[in-house]
Symmetry: C2
Subunit: 930 residues, 2 copies
């Protein structure tokens, strides 16, 4: 039991529900121009219930109904799935209010009222919980409705749908029956429907006659009795209570639980249940249904956008069985030009609807999406909520609304979530082209952005194609059932990853997210046949080598190649406004981690105010005959200081020119250069032939070289001979790097340019390590000043805080260090005792079982690592008030971690160049939300 649930339960026990007290009211009415609730009561009424109340309160045409609060859901789970005793009379009373407004009666044979029973959580969980429509229909009431509407076909169809939905949701799922695959009551009833259509020789449901449907109802009922062993309930009240219970039950259904885990929705929130009078968009030709967006959710344009269908129910629009029509002339595309719009087909209804849209947006000050139904020409609003939008649209809407004075600039900044901003920055499938293509399958959106490539069915295949071909031909998408660590090389080589199985925390999803790679997982429509080299998607057969395109932001898969468009930030006026405003609000500085001149230039373009991490070792990662790596290797296997110094002298030239170029690009913005960090054996070749090559270069025997290389082996390299420990073992290595830094800066200064290097010492665990390195740095600084005749070279010397002991001893360390930079990757590894390279064997399970709230390498662990960070800041600043403090771990680009850094009082965060805008926005959010 969660803490809050316990508290809740305790409170519930202490004070049993009484009707009189509004604080303990458990049923809220809406309709007839009035409502007990408002949009602000989402916690109690769920999103749907609160919005219905709000619309009703505004006097909009909402079918009357009532909402049972989320508190009842909590009560239900705290009391062995029993409902509170008072609920029954509350429901009856509210049912009577609906009956009064509509002049119909629930269960009445002549003029029956039908209702829907819907779930509604505090935050939207689309499709995750249950809904039952047409509750109240039975063999008696249907005849009253036939008489009243004169539309028997419509009524029998509604009853058939009720039986199909209810037997599945209430009688099977909520009862905990787990049928064999394909044997579920829903499938069995669907087979009966198919059988009927076959026998009648028709393809569409709509082609069946009223008599057909009435006969089908009887078939359905006997099937229900046969399969579930109970008759379908004819009593409207039994239907109603079954529906209410099933909705509460569905809060803990497998899909809902999984969804909450991914979306981080607390289990204890619970769902509300809304019971609402049914209205029908399928009652005849003057009936219609549709959805509306107050602005275009794909582009953000300020134009009423939507889709509709005549003679249809809401689910038909969403389900994609019939192609919906454009709602107005302005929303038409090439493809939809020839279709009728609501604007022209039902101009009165459209005008009323458009007026409601404007009213709603003005009232809520945000883009809303809504569902409406016109029943025999009368317009009803069925629901409304803040509309989903993609990142590009989110930015445009926020900035437009601020410019329209609908919202303040600070609110505009807060409207765009940093993760939405990612979509503005990623290359994506050309939205126009995408709009005109039909997705062939949908999966979970595990890695955002767009990508295309040829299908590769194994990792080796993907890696081979990427390595052997070039240009477009080298582009592959790795398509697998699931991925495993053995597939890493192929995943890396691929443009995107697509898997048939796996959820948002599967191997593929975790890896892709880590790399920022486009990825769709759990795309269960795929049937991969490795031997045949095919991927079956429904009736389509794709083959190895065929082109496919992925929209990883939405999880959509397309056949063929859809062009990618790079975001044009220069010309994205709204993006630039938003970032300008964000910069105005934020307090945190934003730097980038950049190892090359190109990275540095990119970082500046993205708005970085400096480089927070320049890793000198980066230049050693490229092979090549005269690459710096060769020189480094000679340095590493040197056994005497003199051998080592000779190799270092050669390296010096490369290191200096690399640093000089980066300092130059940054034009006087601070550049934090970290001294050599990784364990040396990382750079020693593993293959025999490379070793032989190196032996020849160094001029020693291969056996001797192997001995020297073996001596570098470590059991736990992450905690071995690395960072400042190298600088202490080999002071000449520190000396070479420091000399390169000062000489590079000096050269720029003497050219009249600016340079502001910050020398950063890694993996410090003891204050005396700094003393040791500072002595070298000060000596070399003096030497360079003398050699160049400069009076000073602006610079700082500081340290990384990435070892727990450094955080604890920060007060002492700050006596030397002028700045701290938190290396939160390593600090997380050591604080948890998690080797990041090895967490694959247990961390996924930890996340799945909620032993940890989230991956601490993705989002900073505030309770553990965060405490060390805070301790270090407090102690460091107590020693040195002007201590500059930043973070250069990967958390620097994670919005939640940025918020933590803001609260903790850091001076800046540093992240990959690409994530700089995200960090800027996250920093503004942090500043505005505190």
């Amino acid at each position: 039991m969660t803490r809050s649930a316990v508290k809740h339960a305790a409170r519930a026990k202490a004070a049993p529900t009484r009707k009189a007290s509004p604080a303990r009211k458990i049923v809220y009415f809406f309709g007839g121009g009035k409502a007990d609730g408002t949009a602000k009561m989402k916690e109690l009424l769920g999103g749907k219930g609160a919005n219905l109340a709000e619309m009703a309160g505004l006097g909009l045409p909402v079918p009357p109904g009532f909402t049972i609060t989320t508190g009842v859901c909590t009560y239900y789970y705290e009391h062995g799935r029993k409902l509170p005793a008072t609920l029954s009379s509350d429901v009856e009373k509210n049912l009577r209010r609906i009956e009064t407004i509509l002049g119909a009666e629930f269960g009445d044979a002549q003029n029956p009222l039908l209702v829907s029973v819907r779930s509604g959580a505090r935050s939207s969980m689309p499709g995750m919980m249950e809904t039952i429509l047409n509750v109240g229909l039975n063999d008696v009431t249907r005849e009253g409705l036939v008489a009243k509407t004169g539309n028997a076909r419509f009524v029998y169809d509604a009853q058939r749908r009720l039986i199909q939905m209810y037997s599945d949701v209430v009688m099977e799922k909520a009862a905990g029956i787990e049928p064999a695959p394909g044997k579920g009551i829903r499938q069995q009833l669907e087979r009966e429907l198919e059988r009927l259509k076959e026998s009648r020789g028709v393809r569409q449901d709509t082609e069946l006659s009223a008599d057909d449907l009435r006969a089908l109802i009887d078939v359905y009922k006997s099937k229900v009795l046969e399969v579930l062993g109970r008759p379908f309930p004819e009593d409207p009240r039994e239907q109603l209570w079954g529906g209410i219970g099933a909705v509460f039950q569905s809060w803990n259904g497998r899909r809902a639980v999984e969804y909450r885990r991914i979306e981080k929705i607390p289990d204890e929130w619970g769902t509300a249940v809304s019971v609402q009078a049914m209205v029908f968009g399928n009652m005849g030709e003057t009936s219609a249904t549709g959805v509306g967006f107050t602005r275009n959710p794909a582009t953000g344009e300020n134009i009423f956008y939507g889709e509709w269908l005549p003679t249809a129910q809401g689910e038909d629009v969403v389900a994609g069985i019939r192609t919906p029509l454009p709602i107005n002339e302005a929303g038409k595309t090439e493809h939809t030009r020839h279709l009728p719009s609501l604007e022209t087909a039902m101009p009165d209804a459209y005008r009323r609807l458009a007026r409601i849209q404007r009213r709603l947006e003005r009232h809520s000050r945000d883009m809303l999406d809504s569902e409406f139904t016109s029943q025999e020409g009368r317009l009803w609003m069925l629901q409304c909520r803040v509309g989903k939008r993609n990142g590009v649209a989110a930015v445009k809407m926020a900035v437009d609304m601020a410019n329209e004075k609908l919202i303040a600039k600070r609110e505009a900044v807060l409207r765009v979530s940093p993760s939405a901003l990612v979509q503005v920055l990623l290359p994506m499938l050309d939205p126009k082209a995408e709009l005109e293509t039909v997705a062939i399958a949908k999966g979970l959106p595990a890695g955002p952005g767009g990508a295309y490539g040829r299908i590769a069915l194994t990792a080796d295949e993907a890696a081979a194609i990427a390595a052997q071909k070039s240009g477009e031909d080298a582009k592959v998408v790795l398509v697998r059932e699931e991925t495993s660590p053995e597939d890493i090389h192929g995943m890396h080589a691929a443009q995107a990853i697509l898997t048939a199985k796996g959820g948002m925390t599967s191997h593929a999803a975790l890896v892709a997210r880590g790399w920022g790679k486009c990825c769709i997982v759990g795309c269960d429509a795929l049937e991969i046949d490795l031997e045949a080299g095919t991927v079956q998607v429904g009736s389509r057969t794709l083959r190895r080598g065929d082109w496919i395109s992925l929209n990883g932001t939405e999880g959509k898969l397309y056949e063929g190649r859809i062009a990618l468009v790079a975001p044009n930030l220069e010309h994205n006026r709204e993006y630039r406004s938003l970032m300008r405003w964000a910069d105005r609000f934020r307090r945190l500085g934003i730097r980038a981690n950049a190892d090359t001149v190109e990275d540095a230039a990119r970082a500046r373009a993205f708005g970085a105010e400096g480089i927070g991490l320049f890793r000198t070792e980066h230049m050693f990662y490229g092979e090549g005959s005269d690459a710096p790596l060769g020189k480094l290797r000679r340095m590493i296997v040197a056994e005497s200081e003199s051998e080592r110094r000779a190799a270092l002298a050669e390296l010096f030239v490369d290191v200096k020119s690399d640093i000089l170029a980066t300092l130059e690009v940054m034009q006087g913005l601070p550049v934090t250069i970290r001294l050599l960090d990784p364990p040396l054996h990382e750079f020693v070749p593993k293959q025999r032939e490379k070793l032989e090559e190196l032996a020849a270069q160094v001029g020693i025997d291969i056996d001797e070289l192997e001995r020297r290389a073996a001596a570098l082996h470590e059991t736990n390299p992450m905690m071995g001979h690395r960072g400042v420990r190298l600088g202490i073992s080999y002071p000449e290595v520190t000396e070479m790097q420091v000399r390169a830094i000062f000489e590079a800066a000096a050269e720029l200064l003497r050219q009249g340019k600016k340079a502001e290097p910050e020398i950063m010492i890694p993996v410090v665990s003891a204050p005396a390590e700094l003393d040791h390195q500072y002595a070298i740095i000060e000596r070399v600084y003096g030497e360079v000043l003398r050699r160049t005749g400069l009076k000073r070279i602006p610079h700082l010397v500081g340290t990384m805080i990435e070892v727990p002991r450094a955080a604890l001893l920060a007060g002492k360390i700050a006596e030397r260090a002028r700045f701290f930079s938190f290396g939160t990757n390593d600090l997380t590894q050591l604080t948890f005792g998690f080797s990041r390279d090895d967490t694959g064997s247990f961390l996924p399970r930890y996340l799945a079982q909620k032993l940890l709230p989230e991956d601490p390498f993705a989002s900073l662990d505030e309770s553990g690592v965060g405490e060390l960070v805070k301790v270090a800041i407090e102690r460091g600043r107590r020693t040195r008030r002007d201590l500059k403090i930043g973070i250069c771990g990967e958390h620097g680009g994670d919005p939640r971690s940025v918020a933590f850094c803001h609260d903790a009082g850091l001076d800046y965060v540093s992240c990959s160049p690409f994530r700089v805008p995200i960090a800027r926005l996250a920093a503004a959010h942090a500043a505005l939300q505190r």
Copy 2:
């Protein structure tokens, strides 16, 4: 500059030395029955100066003299090696007081006063700093002395010694001259002496005539001028000041600095300088010199013990050139029975001396050692100090003195340092046999205890002999220039390790100390010739395979086999008294880490009050056809839960019987059983043939097995899939162990015996991990209760705190855990980011360069790891007041760490059985010293 030195200097600057103020007195007089100082003033006067003052104050016959304070030493280093201005007049004034008492005058031609100049630090640094004797002798004063003593040979010999000593210490060393090897002035003068002896055809110095020596003085003087380019100073005052300066200088000599590092003596203490009138034990037949101990320092017996030499100077007794004689009849041994004692040779002097010994011991309430000289029948006390003693003697003396009411019991307990107690517990060379054998060489005592074995000159040799032979023949001592990690197997196989090079922090020393193995390092008398297979020690040639014996406690090497004696603690009455008293004073509980029934029994015998760490995995470390290891391996490579459960069912039997036996031995004392901790790949064989065997057992293909084994590989296994992470991945493994524990305990309880298991969950980093494991434990507990019909099985469930995050989240963790046990080995690894397996590449340098005050794996790092320990205790107890807290890392047996644990408020420490008595004593010290 150190902090305290800075403070010191600041104080010195703020208030320049004035004579009048006693607080700033810089020269302290003693002699003539009076003294300015006392024994309590060691900080100011050094040990030697303070003790001389004390003796003089007691009215004992002390040659008069004065002590220049340690403050002057500090001043000297703070002022560019200049002495304070007022020192000169203070020294002159005190010199005159000596002259007055003795009726002689410094530099006087007729009746010259000679003085010694000696160093004296707060704590003894034997042989590390300089001493100059006979200061004041020159070509003029010597003739006065010849006339006065009528002993020209003695006088010229004294002058020769002065020149030899002074030119070396003052003119060469203190001047910073570094001669080529063998070219030092001392060696050059010694060669002149040898040459003279050769030309005279004599072997002993004493055979040279007065004329020979006078001639040698001239040769010496011209050699000094030739080699050092300066004449030897004839001016007595120049000699005196040169000597004073040289002593201060020697405080920062290489040897002294190294010694302080090892002995952890702060650099800022400084040395005092004592200038004292010379007395001569070599003036003729009524002169003698010697050393006395108020009790026997080897056995502790309460009998005046000492050695003496007629017609000799103090250095002759110590230097081992002449064999010293027993001081009294009671101290005679088999070997010395025939030699004359002081008691019989000079009965008056002996009686006076014996009286002084009694007086001194009664006064100081401790065993003292002293140096005395009888100059022409007159007895002088030259120095005294608390006498060094071995561990056995320390225990006996402390207990005897308490029984004699000389000291209180609490003082007796404090008198024995825990490290001295080690000697009582270690097997050692039979002291009687050792006493009758002459050591052939001496080195640094790197690993205490005694050992013997045949010489092996390579690690392979040592390992091979140990593996192939058995019994006595398998015993080898590995003798190496130095050791390196490649020698580990040989070091492990050897009884002891002996190296020619290396200091107390060399590889050999570190490894041996870690293993508790007898070891001598830096034994520079050894010349190892690997090809010839010989070890040259002076004129002796030892060969590969020869027997040698080592006393690692004192660093002494012997030829041949000296029997080892195991300490007989049962019959060591004093040891048992001491431990009983210690137990009365301590507050900390003491448990042992024990993995086997034998260990558990040993632990109880050593006084353990429970087992603090029983590692279930220990039983898997033995190979064998049906050993548990085989079953474990089958469990590990199982790929399905059912395969795993089958292997676990087999393992269960072994685990249960192992636990049952241990619980039984402990008779109801608590036994903390840690659930499986190490990464599984540790147990998978590496060799191909073992793998094939396993594949056959498991019934799978070797390739498949290799794949499964490879999947277990980790980059940083220390931070990988281990501890509770295994229990979460494989709940059935936790279940098996927990069931074994409860069933074992239940079986004992049903037999009417006691059992108190404590289940300990390792490597916890998140509170939810405990929830997960507790669910299993509670379920199994219930099942075992039902199965056995017991109402309850007394037990606790708790966790190790060995991951920094666990320490930080201790408040939350204590909601579940009933006890904490600090795993300080891993906590140290993670807090520092030091992989213990890999520190060899940098930690020795860190210790040598003082970047860390000491090895954090040997003694708990109080400022880093210690803070986490304190935080965890405070937060844990805030949640659960009766939280039981212990420590089971290796620090539990380190006296300084035990003191920390006492202060931190732990309930108990747990250490290896062997160290239990040490921990008991250390805990008593901690309680008494706070």
